[in-house]
């Protein structure tokens, strides 16, 4: 499965020092309901971060803030040292070219073939020629094991296949960071593996990943750092072995034990 | 600039005529307006030396047409009364017009008081409406229609017991509809037709008056009246 990919996202060692994503004192409310209550987080280039926590703890909201799908009220957020500016449509487009996102519900464009799904953004945003975009799309689909589905329509694919197309589509923009929000939750259990294998290969190749997941064993295996969110805060954070092996707070202990029910 | 100058410059005149009021104005087989008012309009256009653009109007909306300058002149069986004189101006009269009440032959109707409790079809905004109001008992049941088509259709269809309209119109209707056994009952008013001009357009009004006076003199008016109404124009107020 792990095929070759040109990897523009791994850059010279000298820049490794500066965090690719820096979140400072970020607060976000829906109306009067404060959902994120001051988040501080630095993500290093090439780092793989798993975000865990109960439903409603703000995991999705955090990811959605990072690529600007949600507007936040306080704090700052920089990607590649460029601050997120909601007012500037130009700046937002720049940001989103650096930050890709994959959703729980795939969100493939149902009226376009698989190939066109992957090619759409590069041709429009990066102004690629369609020949070039098509050959890139073929490469990426091959990488996620779906080379032969180039001309299929999304609704002819299984959930696992759709999600892999969504990954290829996100990769086509050559993002520096990839956000994954419970990307296997909508899948039948037997299809989860094929998607996780693709994500793992991305991690191995040095992609910066932030993923919300309920697959603890996967988080443990793949991530460099695990973040436990609770009530809108980063409640605990650390290497997976530590966090899972020796949880410090009562909340994390309870959360981990609840998973075994 | 005044309306007359505009007309002469544009070389067309817009004249509002009825298409629901035979013999003054109706349509022929090819939907072309025809009738006394139409011929009068054509006469004025010819004398002015301009092209004519006929605008079909109804009784209810002919004055707004003039007010909003959708027409330069209204030649549409327009009678003169003080309310109207407040908002538009009138030329000299060009044709006779008698308003009357019609009903079935069998109905006893010798005085306006006999109309008490009866339904009467009138055209909204027409003179008959206002005149009848003055002379008929208060409990007459008015059925007001948007245009004369509807008024006459309602009476012919038997939807009302009586009809107040122009004598010429009713005569035409009766001639074409032998099945309707109605007859002339009461004379409502002798209210000859005037050409309506928008307020303040004195130049145009003067010009129209000149044309009417000339036509009266050379017998054109009488000929028109004979052709459409079956009798001479007679004495018309200036």
């Amino acid at each position: 499965m792990a095929a070759v990919l040109d990897q523009p996202q791994t850059e010279p060692a000298s820049t490794f020092a500066a965090p690719i994503v820096r979140i400072t004192a970020l607060r976000k409310s829906y109306g009067t309901n404060e959902v994120l209550k001051g988040i501080d987080l630095d993500v290093k280039r090439g780092e793989v971060i798993a975000i865990i926590g109960k439903s409603g703890s703000g995991k999705s909201t955090l990811l959605r803030c990072i690529n600007g799908l949600e507007v936040f009220q306080e704090g700052s957020l920089t990607v590649d040292s460029k601050p997120l500016l909601h007012e500037s449509a130009m700046a937002m487009r720049e940001l989103r070219q650096r930050v890709g996102m994959i959703f729980q519900s795939f969100n493939l464009f149902p009226h376009l073939t698989v190939g066109k799904n992957v090619m759409l953004a590069p041709t429009l945003v990066k102004k690629r020629g369609s020949m070039e975009a098509a050959s890139q799309a073929r490469k990426l689909l091959d990488r996620v094991g779906l080379a032969e589905k180039f001309d299929a329509m999304p609704d002819q694919l299984s959930g696992g296949q759709q999600q892999r197309v969504a990954i290829a589509r996100a990769l086509a923009m050559e993002p520096a960071v990839l956000l994954c929000d419970e990307i296997t939750s909508a899948l039948d259990p037997e299809l989860v593996g094929e998607v996780l294998r693709v994500v793992e290969s991305l991690a191995d190749e040095g992609m910066t990943l932030l993923m919300v997941t309920h697959e603890m064993s996967f988080a443990r295996k793949v991530s460099d750092r695990v973040i436990f969110m609770h009530q809108g805060r980063v409640h605990e954070m650390g290497p997976p072995a530590e966090l899972f092996g020796n949880p410090q707070t009562a909340e994390l202990k309870q959360f981990l034990s609840s998973l075994h029910d | 600039q005044n309306a007359l100058d505009n007309v002469l410059k544009a070389k067309t005149i817009k004249i509002a005529v009825p298409t629901d009021y035979p013999p003054y104005g109706s349509v022929d087989k090819n939907m072309k307006p025809q009738g006394l008012d139409v011929e009068m309009a054509e006469l004025i256009a010819t004398k002015l030396g301009v092209k004519i653009e006929l605008v079909p109007v109804t009784s209810a909306n002919r004055i707004p047409y003039l007010q909003t300058r959708k027409a330069d002149l209204v030649i549409s069986t327009l009678g003169k009364n003080p309310e109207r004189e407040k908002v538009i101006e009138f030329s000299s009269a060009y044709a006779p017009f008698f308003q009357a009440v019609y009903a079935a032959k069998s109905m006893k109707l010798t005085a306006f008081s006999d109309m008490a409790g009866k339904t009467v079809a009138v055209t909204r905004g027409a003179m008959e409406d206002q005149e009848l109001n003055k002379v008929a008992p208060a409990n007459v049941d008015y059925r007001r229609f948007e245009d004369n088509n509807a008024t006459i259709a309602a009476f012919v269809a038997g939807q009302t017991q009586t009809l107040a309209t122009s004598a010429a119109v009713a005569g035409d209707m009766l001639a074409k509809n032998p099945k309707v056994s109605a007859e002339f009952k009461l004379l409502l008013k002798d209210s000859p037709c005037f050409v309506g001009v928008a307020k303040g357009e004195t130049a145009l009004k003067t010009k129209v008056n000149e044309i009417i006076a000339a036509a009266k003199k050379d017998g054109t008016l009488d000929a028109m009246s004979k052709k459409w109404l079956g009798k001479a124009a007679g004495d018309l107020p200036v």
Partner: protein, 217 residues
């Protein structure tokens, strides 16, 4: 005045039917364009524009087309602008149609799942690109059936242009009815002609609807 044969009646009505068709097309095309612009405003123009479009829709859906026609005809002229019956009928019907179409289309756009906006947004597509390449292609498919269905309402709506003296099918009908004194025959013909014009459109809309529903099921 000469006597009308049945053929004369029909012939004249058919001639007038042209204007009903032309007026319908003007209203539909004009309404479509204005409706599209309003839709864009509503989706993109911020809160105030959205509210304004909402008010516009409520105004035109909440008042009789008859009154709109009267106002367009006698109202605009008061401001010194010369409007013919043509212009007034076209303007009033266009505005009326646009209010309904923008509302129909908004529903179609709103029925596209939010995930489609988010996915395309996070691929760095601009609003225009999202609309053009992701949302509209899907929304148009859903919108065709109700839009064609509304065309029937527009055709019927043109009948009201008769009250401002516009000689289309209905007005021609009442003129002929008065010249012939055969209202039963004339209005039967008028109704029949409308039916002949509208029914195929209705059927077509129904078929389209069945197809889109079938596809989704």
């Amino acid at each position: 005045m000469s006597d009308f044969s049945l053929w004369d009646i029909l012939r004249n009505l058919l001639m007038a039917l042209r204007w009903t068709v032309v007026l319908s097309l003007i209203a539909f095309v004009g309404g479509g364009i204005v409706g599209g612009l309003l839709l864009f405003l509503r989706l993109r123009g911020g809160k105030i524009a959205g509210k304004a479009v909402g008010l516009y829709v409520q105004l035109f859906q909440g008042t009789p087309l008859l009154m709109q026609l009267f106002l367009a005809y006698f109202g605009i002229a008061l401001f010194g602008i010369d409007v013919s019956a043509w212009t007034a009928a076209s303007v009033a019907l266009t505005l009326y149609t646009s209010a309904f179409l923008t509302e129909i289309w908004r529903g179609c756009v709103a029925s596209i799942p939010k995930g489609q906006w988010e996915a395309s947004g996070s691929l760095a597509l601009s609003f225009g690109e999202q609309m053009r390449h992701v949302i509209l292609p899907q929304a148009v498919k859903i919108a065709i059936a109700p839009t064609v269905g509304f065309l029937v309402q527009v055709i019927k709506g043109t009948a009201l242009a008769s009250v401002i003296g516009f000689v289309e099918l209905t007005k021609a009908g009442s003129m002929i009815s008065n010249a012939t004194f055969q209202p039963f025959v004339v209005f039967s013909c008028v109704a029949l002609l409308y039916f002949v014009l509208c029914f195929p459109v209705s059927l077509y809309a129904k078929n389209l609807e069945r197809k889109t529903h079938g596809r989704r099921a």
